[in-house]
Structure formats: C-alpha cells, structure tokens
C-alpha cells in the first residue's frame, strides 16, 4: 500500500468517526427536541438538523447520506415512530433538506453562508412534509397547517444557521478537520 492511499484510508476512517459523532449528536438533539412541547407532533424546531449543517464541511457525499439516514433512524427511535407511517415525514423532510443543503454547500459555497443553507434546508424539509401530509393525511386542508409550520421552521433555522456559522468559524476542532479534507 502506498503512502498516498494509506493517508486516504486514514482520512476515510476519520470521516466515519465524524459520522458517528455527528449522528450521536443528532440522536441527543432529537431527544432534546422531543422534550419540548409542541402543538403538533411533527412540527419541529429542527435542532437535530444542526449536525447535518456542521457535517457539510467535514463529510463526503456517502458519509453525508449515511449521517442523514442515521439521523432519521435516531429520530424514529427517540420519538417511537420508527415503525409507523410517521417515519415517512421524518424521512422525506431529512432527505430533501440534506439534499438541498449538500448541493448548496457544494456548488454555492461562495454565494451563501450556513445561515442561508440552514433556511433552505428547513424550507425544503417543511415543504416536503407539508406535501406528504397533503397526500397522506389532510388533503387540501394542509394549507391551514402550512403557515405556522413554515414560519416556525423559518425562524428556528435562522437561529440554527447563525449558531452553526459561529461554531464553524470558532471551533479549532472543525478548522483542523475541515482543512484536511479537500472539499470543493
């Protein structure tokens, strides 16, 4: 094995550790989120989205997808919805938001900060969940749920984005590892 591939292997191992760390963080934040009372069970503050925002600068596509799936799994475990149709909402929301955020970070990093990425991710997640609720649960009446749902997500995603931006710019741990990876 050459020195080059050896270091690549090592960096892959490190990134898998990041996945584990961030997934654990997502699990913890899902628990915190679950403790906060909300009028509708699937109305989310989006705390568990934080690891996905921070992971943007640390992970490659596959690891990022893995992190997203682990987040869904963790949310399902914490809320007890893992074997019910409600997990579909979690799945749809997380996958669409992860997809949008990853694309924005990969191709739009110069024009958009983590705040914008966080808002876009929250909107993508909430719109997906609203469309799912339109199809699965409420039909056209989903429009009555849309405004509070979207507004809460919008507000909390700004706060989360600001926090993530601050963390990323201050954390020496993040700076060290984000520089190691040669991400676009």
């Amino acid at each position: 094995m050459t020195r080059h591939s050896d270091s690549r292997l090592r960096s892959t191992v490190i990134r898998v550790e990041f996945v584990a760390l961030l997934a654990a963080l997502a699990l913890f934040l899902s628990t915190v989120e679950y403790l906060i009372p909300k009028p509708v069970p699937f109305m989310r503050i989006g705390l568990a989205n934080l690891p996905l925002i921070i992971g943007l600068g640390l992970l490659h596509e596959r690891e990022y997808l893995l992190l997203a799936l682990l987040k869904i799994l963790g949310q399902g475990l914490v809320t007890g919805t893992i074997f019910s149709y409600i997990i579909l909402f979690s799945f749809g929301g997380t996958v669409s938001s992860a997809f949008i955020m990853f694309l924005l970070y990969r191709y739009g990093r110069r024009y958009v900060s983590l705040v914008g990425i966080s808002i876009a991710g929250a909107m993508a997640s909430n719109i997906t969940q609203l469309q799912l609720s339109r199809v699965i649960l409420f039909g056209d009446a989903a429009r009555f749920i849309a405004p509070p749902f979207l507004m809460v997500g919008f507000a909390t995603s700004i706060v989360l984005g600001l926090f993530a931006e601050r963390f990323v710019s201050r954390s020496s741990w993040y700076a060290e590892h984000a520089q190691q990876e040669h991400l676009a």
Binding site: P39, Y111, I119, A141, R143, A146, P147, F154
Partner: protein, 124 residues
Amino acid sequence: MKQIRLGDIAIFIVSIAIIAFSLGRFTDFSGEPQVHVRTDGGEFIYDLGVDAFATFNGPVGETSIEIKDGKVHVHDSDCRNKVCISAGWVSRVGDWIICLPNNVFVLIEGAVAQETGGVDDTAF
C-alpha cells in the same frame, strides 16, 4: 465567512415569499364556520353553532369530539400523547386540532357556496 451573502438574501426572500403565499391561501375562507372532521372512516361535517358530541374510530382506538357554545375540542382519545386533548377548545375559522396517532383531523372551515347555497346561486 461571517457576513451575509447574496445567496442568503435570495433564499431569505424566496422563503418569505413562500410563507406569504401560504398565508394568502390560509385566509381564503368565508361564510358560516363548520367543523370538518377527517378520519379513516371519511369526512364528517358539523355546524359549529349546534352543540354535538361525536366519536370516531381510528388506528389506535376512539377519539371523541364535543361541540359546545360555538367551540369544539377533543373530549377524549385513545392515543398515547393526548396532544389533541391538551390543544383545548378552538372556535375560529382556520383553527384545527390533530390527533396524529389516531388519524383524526378536526378543522374549522368557512362553508363555501357549493355546500350551503345549492345550485341556484351559480347556475345559469
């Protein structure tokens, strides 16, 4: 890295526009308020002005609602969290209560012309 960028502003504006659009749809109602109850067994409509008590079946059991003095609430439900019961009484058009586990959705809607007025209002 810290300052707000062009893309942020664009995303911000688009998000506000989407929320404004959803609000515009939200306020699009008129007429006498009715209580719409969507369940696994179909949709039921009650007049908010007439006191009533009704029970619906869902995946986890029974959910009962009570209409009294122009307000509606979930009286009892077999779900685990009881979020629907703690939602309390609602009375305004656009208000809603959901029991997600039992798939019961209570919504106060303004009655539209087709439901109350009959054919003559619009037919030529």
